[in-house]
């Protein structure tokens, strides 16, 4: 999947993956896609909750080995 920016939160624990994701989203424009890599098993539920509450769209979630890869489309304000 194509993306505009990548954030690597490998090895980081709650709430850091969400905080890095938020920072990454602030550095791209509306409708652009952010890729986030996390190894925190709790981040699957957290990223769904994050997107549900903020209006960003979780386009895709891939599980590769022990990593979770999220593709998030930034909401257009």
């Amino acid at each position: 999947m194509e993306f505009d920016k990548e954030v690597d939160a490998t090895g980081l624990n709650c709430p850091l993956p969400i905080l890095r994701c938020k920072k990454g989203l602030s550095e791209i424009g509306g409708a652009q896609v952010l890729k986030v890599i996390s190894t925190d098993p709790g981040s699957v539920k957290d990223f769904n909750a994050f997107c549900a509450q903020t209006g960003h769209e979780l386009l895709q979630l891939d599980e590769v080995d022990t990593s979770f890869i999220f593709y998030i489309k930034k909401r257009v304000n």
């Binding site: 090895g11 980081l12 624990n13 709650c14 709430p15 850091l16 969400i18 905080l19 994701c21 938020k22 925190d40 994050f50 509450q53 903020t54």
Partner: protein, 155 residues
């Protein structure tokens, strides 16, 4: 309009320093307006020097220990420093953020810190003990924000 979160941080130990900063930084990431009112021992969390933050195994039977440790051993000199060192090592090993990092994340995302003026006077703290960018106020100041908040927590 953004939702609002009001927290009271009243504890000054390394373990209890986490909940207010985790919740505040996460809420800010979720576009909440956030204020934390730091009172009594919680004021320690606003100091420039966070080395006072320790964790004590004493009176905390739920704290996981490598070997069972009765209270009379936990009270020995050096045990608190050892428990703190072990906790900090675990925090680093597990990729958990440091308190400094979480506090910075809060400030960068616009979380407002309010130091309880009464406690500052009570404990003879100096304004220069604290980090920049905080405000000083009392209970009424807290309620101005808390009264219109969606979530209020005392920690």
């Amino acid at each position: 309009m953004a939702k609002k979160l009001a927290l009271i941080a009243s504890k000054g130990t390394l373990d209890w320093a986490y909940p207010p900063f985790i919740l505040a930084s996460t809420a800010a990431a979720l576009d909440y307006d956030v204020q934390i009112f730091f009172t009594f021992y919680g004021l320690t969390l606003l100091k420039k020097d966070l080395s006072d933050l320790k964790v004590s195994p004493l009176g905390n039977p739920a704290m996981p220990m490598p070997v069972p440790m009765p209270n009379f051993v936990q009270m020995l000199p050096g045990m608190e420093s050892m428990a703190t060192m072990m906790m900090k090592q675990k925090i680093a090993d597990k990729g958990v953020a440091s308190i400094e990092d979480l506090r910075t994340a809060c400030l960068e995302s616009g979380v407002k810190f309010i130091a309880c003026q009464m406690t500052v006077d009570l404990f003879d703290f100096k304004p220069s003990d604290f980090i920049e960018g905080i405000e000083f106020g009392g209970a009424a100041t807290f309620f101005q924000f808390a009264g219109e908040s969606d979530v209020n927590l005392f920690i």
